[in-house]
Symmetry: C2
Subunit: 519 residues, 2 copies
């Protein structure tokens, strides 16, 4: 598939703008062909108008058709073959092995949402029949055209055909994707695959569009467009918050699901340090450095009570960090932000550098850094909780249990928190668990947060500033709920009800009938 | 129960402020005793702090305890007896008959949420077990302290112990209520009942507080308090939007569930006009004038295609309106806004007064008004869609089906839309139904929107500007979802999981286990 550098207004290619940019190989700093043409505000408008035109047709497609469409997207992505992996690797510096795994995740995720759509019960159909009162029935229906912003760190699984796309399309919403400027060619290839699936499965053309752009203006124009009804975003706090502010200031405010990353604190409890300090030291080092530290769930804070075991653990981590390899970061911008973040951290009262890997002289490398601080200085300085995106972590030594809980109490919202310990530890520290339940979307026991399973129960979300909507998740099947709202039908004749609400339950879905779960 | 005019900081009464106000009987314009002391910002802070202190204890109460607490509130409200109905009638001008009915609704609503809590499946428990991957489990948990603002038009069912209170307490959130200044005595009596229930069922004291106030500052201080995690509101667009803006501009933005009313369009299809025009004319007049037109779901727009039958219908409505009785409006402010709203409407191009009831000379009466306009003028003037709170409606004559659909296409969000017609009409106008699905929370066939059943399927919500969050409802059992967010537990030992997620399912709730609905 030849790359064109153009925008997709539905299946129509368009490149009317004068501003261009290129993908850049972060390993070599060489520019990749072709030039990408930033979308004009007219092109953004055309894409959204097409999504609006497609909406009623698309949302009323049968659940089987919609499931087949999602499966066709998955298949078309696989059809892109090695060329996709190669281009993604060139644009991101991520290894082909990692990207092949990520493609598998993307494929499975699309198919999982197809299963959810086909099974059908996600619409939360409710029926209240009564002899004395009206017949009332409700179900979730698609919100309307959705704007989606991919992330740089997962160019497949959190980008053009990632979780936001899969869940919005599953819910019945046409989408307009803002391509990520750090991997525009990968975006174009995946967009082409989606459009093939649109055509093959007979979906309306405007179901999918994608605009390119390196300026903030393109994304802002998309979010401010009156026909856009929700926004999905994965990226930085600054980017997500700007979109949230734009969306909530519109004449008609709309929901923004921005997953903005976090520092994912780990709490090492005494039993873990006593029984498996070495194992945790090695696991922590691997988790921090996975993907050159460029995971939303990267553990950036590690708190524990000071003890001999803790000091031994700390020494072991330091040894591992010194030996940890460097890797190429996604972009030069991310690398310089990482370096600046570290410099700022190291200037803070009480923060010390414990260990670091060594530079290998290649461009844009992310060098592992282990830093430490004590709880007193940590609690006195809100800035130490902020994410430094890259392969670093800050350990926090506490003076006993109360101090550890104080650290937890003072946390802002994060995607995850991890407890390492024995089962006895977990009982002894149940009040810490209670505190952490309010702070995060996911609590992990004896594991590292960097693995995020795609299943029904997963929650990849959390209180602000981890996300702009703690009531939702961007990974896992309940992500579909973000793009729908309930609509109620009162005293409608059977023939005019959606299938989901008909008496005979033709879709065979789970429903709440007069308060009883039934099928 | 003697009224004190003070605020409730938990069970502690406090009135440190210098600003006072009184309830006013709108029928006589006489002031009602006692003086009410507006809460100071210190008192607001104390109430929220107490809610925060109560939170972990309250949210971890057993589902049975929480259900019993809600039932005790219902019982304690009944215990207030006639005194409550009398005070509410004095403060609002609503009849004792109406208020007795509303008390029954309030009672039943609290008990329905008790049933939901006791049944337990609302938490959407999900379990993914796997041999190769981590064990992942999630459920919804309470958000934290919630601020609740009651409405003037339902001093019981949408006020201190109304639907927002019932659903927030059911979810496990302590609440701080901002009492409505138009019925402060009613608020105080109900708050006293809730506090008795708090004590009798052993809930932590800060589970419920209530602050009084007539200035916007009190509500703003509440919404801006960093420990408040969500807001429930029923009232005017202006009030709801101001709270939304305050909440989304906080350092930590929080969700606002503001139900701001709407104009609830009715579409009269040709078959209805042909077969039951007289019946609809009478029903419409009653619905518009119910409660002196002071219902969020009051039908303020009636669209139909011009025809001989339509003209006969219109004449019949006019005859009914001339004979329709006046009633006392809730406050002098609401009455003057109603009069001004009508005056503004009548100044608009093409708007004509068709019929009105007659003034009877009492203070604060709401006089029924029937106005008309044609579709051309309606479509040219956005202002004609705005709610005029009171017993008026605007009919819109369209020229054929396409014109009628054009009216629907151009609507903003509303709580409801109604279709009156035969089943054949509904088939012929299925494209109108498709359009209206995007515009409202509830679609009604051959009924009037002013009845809002409290059950599992009811949706009392809708796209902006009807509400600030179309994904939710403020009536019906799914209102509980507004006050919770999902929390995920990965690889937690059985003993440290909440009961809802334990292997043996001790609460016997419906769960999604490896994608299967099971119990």
């Amino acid at each position: 598939m030849a790359l064109t550098g153009q925008n997709f207004i539905g299946s129509h290619r368009s490149g009317n703008g004068s501003k261009t940019f290129q993908g850049i190989n972060p390993e070599t700093e060489s520019k990749l062909k072709p030039d990408y043409v930033e979308a004009t505000s007219d092109e953004v408008d055309q894409a959204v108008q097409k999504a609006e035109e497609a909406f009623n047709d698309y949302r009323q497609k049968s659940t089987v058709n919609r499931a087949e469409f999602l499966e066709a997207i998955a298949d078309e992505i696989m059809e892109l073959g090695d060329a996709l992996i190669k281009r993604a690797s060139e644009e991101t510096g991520l290894t082909e092995g990692r990207l092949t795994g990520e493609r598998g995740r993307t494929f499975n995720q699309l198919r999982l949402f197809a299963d959810v759509v086909r099974e059908g019960s996600w619409v939360d159909a409710r029926i209240d029949r009564s002899d004395e009162a009206p017949d009332v029935r409700s179900m979730k229906m698609a919100l309307g055209p959705v704007a989606i912003f991919g992330a740089s760190n997962f160019p497949l699984a959190f980008s053009v055909a990632g979780g936001d796309t899969a869940s919005a399309l599953a819910a019945g919403c046409p989408i307009v994707v803002k391509a990520h400027p750090a991997h525009p060619g990968t975006c174009e290839m995946v967009a082409g695959a989606i459009l093939k699936a649109v055509e093959k499965t007979g979906m309306p053309e405007g179901t999918f569009s994608m605009v390119q752009g390196i300026s903030h203006e393109v994304g802002t124009a998309l979010v401010e467009h009156p026909l856009i009804k929700a926004v999905g975003f994965t990226g930085s706090f600054k980017g997500g918050k700007a979109l949230y502010d734009a969306a909530t200031s519109r004449p008609e405010p709309i929901p923004v699901y921005a997953e903005m990353g976090s520092t994912n604190p780990i709490f090492l409890l005494p039993g873990a340090l006593r029984e498996k300090g070495d194992e945790v030291a090695e696991g922590l080092t691997n988790s921090v450095n996975l993907g050159v530290g460029q995971f939303c769930t990267n553990p950036g804070l590690v708190a524990y009570e000071e003890s001999d075991e803790a000091r031994a653990f700390h020494q072991a981590v330091a040894d591992h960090f010194k030996k940890a390899g460097t890797g190429t970061m996604l972009t030069s911008g991310i690398q310089s932000a990482y370096k600046e973040g570290l410099e700022t951290l190291l200037q803070q009262e009480g923060v010390q550098l414990v260990a670091s890997g060594s530079e290998d002289g290649s461009p844009n490398t992310g060098v592992p850094h282990l830093l430490k601080v004590d709880s007193k200085n940590f609690l006195a300085n809100d800035g130490l909780e902020e994410e430094v995106f890259g392969p670093s972590t800050l350990t926090i030594s506490a003076e006993g249990k109360a101090d550890l809980i104080d650290i937890a109490e003072n946390l802002q919202g994060h995607l995850t928190a991890t407890l390492y310990g024995t089962e006895e530890d977990l009982e002894t520290y149940s009040d810490l668990v209670t505190v952490l339940q309010r702070k995060v979307g996911r609590l992990i026991f004896n594991g590292f947060p960097t693995g995020v399973e795609v299943n029904h129960a997963m929650i990849h979300g959390g209180p602000y500033p981890a996300t702009t909507d703690s009531r939702t998740t961007s990974v896992g099947t309940s992500a579909i709920d973000r793009f729908a709202r309930p609509v109620c039908f009162q005293d409608f004749p059977e023939s005019q009800l959606p299938d989901e609400l008909k008496d005979e339950n033709p879709l065979d879905i789970w429903r709440l009938e007069n308060g009883e779960h039934t099928k």
